[in-house]
Homo-oligomer: 257 residues x 2
């Protein structure tokens, strides 16, 4: 294996058997050596969670020139850590997660396993990108994303990203795209989040569901606005999350306690 | 029940049976009406994860004047959502998580279930605070924290916090504190993260472990520095995580693809 080609780690949260990860492997395989480490079952909503109470396990599923596919019993973050720390024989140049079956825009970033993996990659100092299609259909057609995924990934390999910044890229579920729009995370929250799932004699079982209420619906810079208007939404996401502007004021208040 | 008292939702990630949550209930009970909704078992490292593939269940364990304690089969974020959406009869004034058995400073914020709950509360527009003690001892003594937890919580009830900002408060494991220091999140990353847990004939089992390497060890504003020097570290954490400064430059680059 030529070690001069970029080493790209691919993961996701829909699991190694999903259609979206197959599409991602296919689209970015020309760009480098690929190591896939993905959960052995769906892990949607895994966020940045870790497996701490039981050991995790990985297993090689498939190997050919410049491609190795592993499954892992852990979360998306476990997958990234395991790939980088244990399985890769050199430091990866890039972490790519997806293609997610479903929207990871706006505040979904805080619960998404796809973004959990990308945040982990970014914290490890590796350029990291998440791709998501706004469709939960397990048989979604990803072909329209192909050239975008390839050209954006290729650009990140060449140019890099700022330290502690990763990309959250969402594709609207439309027949064609108006272009690429760099966005801010829309603010919003979920409402009516639970659907009853009563069990004989017990009304306290619920399915998580709900509807998202966009609080930035008029903001043309938001990722929701971009998606609603047919653009691919690229949200640069910063992991330096201290509220610096608040430090001095809060210190003054705490000094009075 | 008097509805003029603040309604405070308490949760954690160590589970409803942990000593830390008992201490938290005790210390802030004088400040309002308390509803506890906490995981029925330990959920350390749960981050912002959601339970999406199975229903979640909650159950009342204990009720007295101005205190109701529930356990929940879900994650810390599920607990907050369930408390706010289904169980509280009015909108909570505050979400408090902890007291965590272990350090949640620095980049641990991205994997902590305690901070996952607090981030969820903050996204719901409710003032939210996490308290953690830098000791994993299940029998840790929390008494030294008592007056700090009570006075900081009381201050937040009275003064509030900026929109999309929550507090990540960590206490060093020392016999007394030098004071309260408002901090930035230390940058750093984990190294050597896996300990082998070989199983007969299979070397691919691992325990998550590792050591944290502080990349900001000289920065006197960092939470790690504060903790290492005997201060209570208060890190204001901002959930508006778009890299605004990078938007224009990235858009120019994407326009060329």
């Amino acid at each position: 294996m030529g070690t001069d080609r970029p080493l790209i780690v691919i993961t996701n949260d829909d699991g190694v058997m999903s259609k979206g990860i197959d599409a991602l492997i296919k689209y970015i395989r020309p760009l480098g050596e690929i190591l896939v480490m993905a959960p052995d079952s769906p892990r949607s909503g895994a966020s940045g969670s870790l497996t701490v109470q039981i050991p995790i396990h990985y297993q090689l599923l498939h190997k050919e020139i410049d491609l190795a596919v592993y499954k892992c019993s852990g979360t998306p973050v476990d997958c990234v850590k395991l790939a980088v720390d244990e399985v890769c024989t050199r430091r990866p140049d890039l972490i790519v997660a997806g293609i997610n079956h479903g929207d990871n825009s706006s505040t979904n970033v805080f619960n998404s396993g796809t973004m959990g993996a990308v945040i982990e990659g970014c914290l490890e100092g590796i350029h990291s990108i998440a791709f998501s299609l706004c469709s939960h259909d397990p048989n979604a057609d990803f072909e329209l994303l192909s050239s975008y995924v390839c050209s954006i990934t290729s650009w990140v390999i060449k140019e890099g990203l700022p330290k502690l910044t990763c990309l959250n890229i969402n594709f609207p579920n439309v027949p064609n795209y108006k272009g690429l729009k760099v966005c801010k995370m829309a603010r919003g929250k979920w409402k009516h989040e639970f659907d009853p799932c009563p069990r004989k004699g017990d009304q306290q079982y619920f399915w998580l569901g709900g509807e998202f209420v966009d609080e930035d619906s008029d903001d043309k810079l938001s990722d929701h606005y971009a998606l609603a208007n047919g653009y691919v939404a690229i949200t640069p996401t910063k992991l330096d999350i201290t509220d610096y502007a608040y430090i001095d004021k809060l210190q003054q208040e705490m000094d009075l306690l």
